[in-house]
């Protein structure tokens, strides 16, 4: 009887010309990718990246507080100087109690988060219990480590609620994995950190925390050209995640800094007089 040892397989990538059968094999091993036959892999990747111009530039943030984890992100994708989309979903729902954020290459983040979701589900089925946030982030970090140096661009945060309570990990394409209470990733993160760090308290209610997250994203989109669109805020609690709000940042601007009605009337009077 041949035992199934697929759970013990190490995550070494099989470099070679994977036929399309690999796609149907399931995801217990690291998926194998077609690689170009070239002596200068790095140079080729640089050229390929220039040509395909993957969408990046973003602001995402997440923090742990008394009531769980708050996750927020903008929704702009830029290709060089062109805004390719204002409605990208940067908060990826891995499963009903875990969220991942997207920063860096859009395709990389989408694919690897979907892959992580599959792995988490397989873990659940094999072990009859949910995977911990620590375990899920470790799976993702190990996968990315095996593709280290090949040009993936992933800066993600895994946020969830497991048996030990709320969990937040930052994972990047170098294979780095950090546990923490507050993270912000992306081109707009310095601006978001400024607002987030100055307003953060552990003892906040869900409304206060969501307002802090929304404001931080708004301020980042105000100053960073590569961030914008819709600010989405999610809350991860003991019962899983819920989407709290999705507001257009242009409208948030006038909500936070409304034009004083006196001045508006004055301008309209002057215009009418002309």
């Amino acid at each position: 009887m041949k035992l199934d040892t697929s759970g013990f397989e190490t995550s070494m990538p099989t470099i070679g010309f994977g036929s399309s059968n690999d796609m149907l094999d399931g995801f217990s091993t690291v998926p194998s990718f077609d690689l170009p036959r070239t002596t200068d892999f790095d140079g080729f990747q640089k050229e390929a990246v220039q040509m395909v111009k993957p969408a990046k530039g973003t602001t995402t943030l997440a923090f742990i507080f008394k009531e769980g984890v708050m996750v927020a992100a903008d929704s702009r994708a830029s290709m060089g100087g062109y805004i390719s989309s204002q409605s990208v979903k940067k908060i990826i729902e891995i499963n009903p109690y875990m969220l991942g954020t997207m920063a860096g290459g859009a395709a990389d983040c989408q694919f690897w988060h979907r892959n992580l979701g599959i792995k988490c589900r397989l873990h659940e089925l094999a072990n009859k219990r949910r995977i911990s946030v620590s375990g899920a982030s470790k799976l993702l970090a190990n996968m990315l480590y095996s593709y280290r140096g090949m040009g993936l661009s992933v800066g993600t945060m895994i946020a969830g609620w497991d048996e030990t309570g709320p969990g937040l990990y930052y994972v990047d394409n170098e294979g780095g994995r950090l546990k923490g209470d507050r993270f912000s990733v992306g081109s707009g993160s310095p601006y978001a950190y400024g607002v987030l760090d100055s307003g953060y308290k552990f003892d906040m209610s869900v409304e206060e925390a969501s307002e802090l997250a929304r404001r931080s994203i708004y301020h980042a989109t105000f100053r960073d050209g590569a961030s914008g669109g819709v600010a989405s805020v999610y809350h991860v609690g003991s019962n899983g995640w819920t989407k709290l709000s999705g507001d257009d940042v242009g409208e948030l601007h006038y909500h936070y800094y409304p034009v004083p009605p006196a001045i508006a009337e004055q301008v309209m009077e002057e215009a009418a007089a002309e």
Binding site: K53, S85, A106, S232
Partner: protein, 267 residues
């Protein structure tokens, strides 16, 4: 010793533009038929739209047509396998995810193809999925990809601006335009893009997907400058009806006569 850089690239850009618009019960996918390389035109009659043999999904791609051809073949065969395994056609959202995975599996040697997938979802509403070259995708109400996309997208944003699907409370992203209006918009948009993008032109192929089937329309686009006179005249006629100003008509006719005289020199 100076470093030798590779002079040969496996990629080339054949230009072209693809547009798709989703409606409440239809989907319009359109692409021009010009295939170019550098400053030369390889073909004036090359179709960028691929049927996928699924009656609910149509793929349109611009970029490097050799990669596009290979991608279309892969999708067609994967769809056939799916049909044999599941005894039904793939739905549009399923095809969208398949395309994303197919593109990502060549992450380190990408298909140089910029795709737009259009079709009808399970409820019969139009859906458009837009991709980058390595497979990141999202469901949108309308999209343009290719060399003319930077010219077309702002105009579509202006005419069709739909609320973002990320807003809460959720609002429908589908355009309220009727099908003839959407087809008209597509024709206008391509006519304008042809004016300013050298890689877009010749003919416009439009596919309209509805629940009862797929309809195809072909429209001629401006090939050279000599057609400017006819084009100007058609604009003049529209202007008369909107402005009703005779002096404007005189000016336009004078201008178009001058252009007609000189157009041959720009051929």
């Amino acid at each position: 010793m100076t470093k030798q850089h590779a002079n040969w690239s496996p990629y080339d850009n054949n230009g072209g533009t693809c547009v798709a618009i989703a409606g409440s019960d239809y989907c319009v996918i359109a692409a021009d038929t010009r295939m170019s390389t550098g400053y030369s035109i390889l073909s004036r009659d090359y179709s960028k739209i691929h049927n996928c043999k699924a009656d609910k999904a149509v793929l349109s791609s611009s970029g490097f047509q050799a990669d596009v051809k290979a991608l279309q073949k892969v999708l067609k065969s994967r769809h056939l396998v799916y049909q044999h395994q599941h005894n039904k056609q793939m739905s549009c959202p399923a095809m969208a995810q398949l395309l994303s995975n197919t593109l990502y599996f060549k992450r380190f040697f990408p298909y140089y193809a910029f795709n737009v997938l259009g079709g009808l979802d399970e409820e019969g509403k139009g859906c458009v999925f837009t991709y980058d070259a390595v497979g990141s995708y999202e469901k949108v109400g309308y999209s343009a990809q290719g060399s003319g996309s930077t010219l077309i997208m702002p105009f579509l944003d202006n005419q069709l601006k739909s609320p973002s699907p990320l807003l809460l409370p959720a609002q429908d992203a589908i355009t309220p335009l009727s099908e003839p209006e959407a087809v008209d918009l597509v024709k206008t948009v391509f006519a304008s893009a042809t004016e300013r993008d050298i890689y877009t032109g010749d003919k416009l192929e439009i596919m309209i997907l509805k629940a009862d089937g797929i309809r195809t329309e072909v429209m001629e686009l401006r090939k050279t400058l000599s057609e400017c006179w006819q084009h100007t005249l058609s604009i003049v006629l529209i202007r008369i009806s909107t402005l009703g100003s005779l002096c404007y008509l005189e000016l336009c006719l004078k201008f178009s006569c001058v252009v007609n005289r000189f157009s041959f020199s720009y051929l």
